[in-house]
Symmetry: D3
Subunit: 158 residues, 6 copies
C-alpha cells in the first residue's frame, strides 16, 4: 500500500472516505510513563489521593480523544461512541491504556493514541516538580478491529 | 518538593502562580518515531515529497504547542513567544524535536512535550497504512531554562 | 438504573453507545437570570437595542451547544441537526430557553443545558457592570423525547 | 454606569481595556445542584468512588475556566494564574465553588462563573440517568477583588 | 426562497435539518491572494522552499474546514469525509482552491469557503513582512453537488 | 526584509518575539460581500430584523479574532484588549470592518483580517439560500499602528 494521505502530486490531503462502509470499529493503544518508585508511590498511596491523580489523567485522555481531528491535521472528525482510559501506577512507572469505539467510515487508532498520549503527558505534568526526567515511551497501537483491514493485534516483541 | 498540582486536601487545582516572576523561559523536548527503513525512505525520498510530510508534522506540532493548556488540565495558558519543531527522517526512525519560548510566570516544558508528541502522532498517521506497528518513544524534556529553578539539562544515559 | 458513566471498578468512562439505535431525539432546557427591573428595561427598551443584546446571547448559546462534548467530559460528540435559543427580557428577569435536535445514538439534554447556561452567562456578562449581584437560576431540562427512555416532561412544581 | 459592552450606536463590542491597569484580580462564584439524598449518597459513598466523580467535575470546571473567552463572546482572553474548584456532595445537593485568579486588565468573574457552571453540568451529566429532574441553581458571584472597582462581597440574603 | 437561518419572528437559529436526506455532497470554493511578482517568486523559487510555504497554507485550510461550525454560528457540525486544498503561486498572485466532501444532511459550501479563506490568510501572514498591502479577493463557491438543490456551477463572468 | 516565518533552512517556525517590546498595537481590516440589492434589502429592512443578522455576523467576527492563533499556524497567541466589528448592508453589498487592539509583542493584523473574514462568511451563510453566487472580496488591512514598524495606512487605489 502507499501513503494514502498524499495525492499523486505529493500534496497532503484528507483522503476521501465517502465510499468506505460505515462499520463498527475499535482500537486500543498503550504507553508507559517511566519515573521512579518513590514518585509512583506518591501518586498511588502517598501524599496524593490515588483517585484524584488517576481521574485527572483519565479525563484528560477522554477529552483528547474527542479532539484528535483538531490536532492531527489529516484525521477525519468521527462520531466516537465510547472511550475507556486506564491509568495504572505500578513499580517505577505508570501504565496507560485507551480503547476507543466508533461506528464510522474510518478507524480510531489515532483517537486511541491521542488519548493515551495526553493522559501520559498529564501524569508527567503532575510529577514534573519531583521528577523532570520522567519519560513517556512505547506509545503504540496494540489492537484494532473493524473496517476493510479487519482485526489486527500487535505481535509480542520478545 | 511535593506535587504542587494538589492542595493539602488532595484536590487537583491549577496552582496559583501570581507571585512568581515574569521571566524569559525556554524548554526543548524530543521524541523518536520508530518504524522501518523502507517507510522512512518513502517519507524522505520516495513517493512522497519530503518537504510536504515534514511540513505537515511541523505545523501540527506548532499548533499543538498553542493548545497545551486545553489538553493538559492543570497547565496555565501562556503567551508563547516562539516555537521551533524539527522532524528529521533518518534510517529506521523519524527524530522529533521542539523548542518553545515564553516570557511568563511558568515554564513551557509541557508545551514542548505536546508539540513533539503531536508532531510524532502526525507522522504515525501518515505512515500507519504501511506500518501500523510503528512506535512513538522516548518522549522527554532535554533542557529547560528560566524561572526559579533555572537551567536544567538532561544527563546522558549510557 | 445505575450511574452509567462509571464502570464496575468505579472509573469514569465515555459509555459505549454503539449498540443503541440511531433515532430522532430532542431536548428542551430552561433557565432564568434574575436581576432588577431597571436592568431588564435597559436591555429591552433602554439605552441598548434589544435585538443586539438578545442576539449576542442567542448566538453564544447556539455555539455552546455545539461544544458541549468539549466541555462536559463524558458527553459524546453528536451531529446536532437544529438549535433554537430564546432570550426573553421580562419584569425583573431574563427567561432563557433552548431546544436541541439530533438524529443520533444519545440524547441532547446536555446540549440544551449548555446552550441555555452559556446564553445566561452571556447576559450576565453584559449587565454585570450595572448589577453584579444578578443570579442565574433554575437551570433544568423541561422535556426530552426520542431514544430508549422515550418522552419525558418535567412535572410542574406548585 | 452604562452597559459597557455596547457602543453609543448600540453595537456589541469587546470593550477596549488597553488603558486599564494590570493588577492582581480574583473572583469566587458558587452554585448548587439540587437532586435527591439517595443520588448524593451514590456519589459520595455508594457505588461510585467519591474521588472519581468529584475529580471529573473539578477537572471540567478548571478546563472550562480557561475557555471562558471562547464561550462568552465579549470576554477578553486572560492569562489565568490559578483556579480552584470545589465539588461537595451534601444532603440533597452538591455544592459547587470556584475561585479564579489573574494578573490582568480585566476581572475573572466570568471565568469563575463558567467554571462553577460547567462543573455543575458535569455532575448533572453523571446523575441524569437516575435523576433527570435535578436542577442547577443559584449560580452567582460571591466575591471579587482587584481592579478599579476593588473588593466586592455579596450581601447575605436572609 | 427565504432566509432559512431565521424563524418567522426574526430570530436566528440553527435550522432543523432532521428531515433532510443523508446524501453525498461536495463543494468547491476558490480565492485569490493578490500580491507582487517578486513576493510570489520568493514563495515559489526564492529564499523559501515552495513545498514548505504551500504545505503550511494547505494544512491550515484543511484544519479550518473541520472547524467551520465553530466559526460560523449557524452552521451544522458535519462528518467531513474528504478535503483537498490547493495553493498555487503564479505571476503576481497565489490561487487558492478547496474541495470538501461529506455524506450528511447539509452541504459543505461553508466548509470549502472557510478552508480557502484560512489558507489565503495563512499565505498573507507569511508574506505580510514584505507586502502588507496584499489583498485576499474573489472568495467564492464555484461548484456544489448533492442534496435537494442538486448540482450548481458558477457561470463565468466575462 | 525577508520572510521571517521561515528559518535559514527553509523550515516554517513561529518566530521568537521575546526580544520585541510590549507596546500598544492596533490594526483595522475591511472586506466587502458582494450580492444583489434585493438580498441586501432583506437583511436590512425586509423579512429579517436588521439587528439580528448584523449582530450574528458581528459576534462571529469578534469570536474569530480571539481564535486567530488557532487558525493561522504561525501566529502568536495574544492578549487582545478590544475588538470592534462593523457589518453595514448598503446597495448591492455588505461592507465589513474590524479593528483589533492589543498591548503585546506582535501586531494584530491577522486578528483583524480573521474577524472581518469570518463575519463576511457568516453573512454569506445567511444569504446563500437566496444568492449562492455572492462573493467575499477585497479582504485587506487598511491601517495598523504600534510596534517597530509604526503606523501604516493603505494608499487609496483610484
Amino acid at each position: 500500500g502507499g501513503l494514502t494521505h498524499y495525492r499523486a502530486d505529493g500534496a497532503a490531503h484528507m483522503v476521501d472516505v465517502s465510499a468506505k462502509d460505515v462499520t463498527a470499529r475499535e482500537a486500543t493503544a498503550t504507553a508507559v510513563l517511566r519515573t521512579r518508585p518513590d514518585v509512583v508511590a506518591r501518586i498511588a498511596t502517598g501524599d496524593l489521593p490515588k483517585g484524584e491523580a488517576v481521574a485527572v489523567a483519565r479525563v484528560a485522555g477522554i477529552l483528547a480523544a474527542k479532539r484528535t481531528h483538531e490536532l492531527v491535521p489529516l484525521c477525519h472528525p468521527l462520531p466516537i461512541s465510547g472511550v475507556d482510559v486506564d491509568v495504572v501506577p505500578s513499580g517505577d512507572h505508570v501504565a496507560l491504556s485507551a480503547t476507543v469505539r466508533t461506528t464510522s467510515r474510518t478507524g480510531v487508532e489515532m483517537e486511541a493514541l491521542t488519548a493515551v498520549t495526553v493522559a501520559g503527558l498529564t501524569v508527567y505534568d503532575m510529577i514534573k516538580a519531583v521528577d523532570r526526567a520522567a519519560v513517556l515511551t512505547d506509545v503504540q497501537v496494540v489492537a484494532k478491529s473493524g473496517g476493510t483491514t479487519g482485526t489486527w493485534v500487535r505481535e509480542e516483541q520478545a
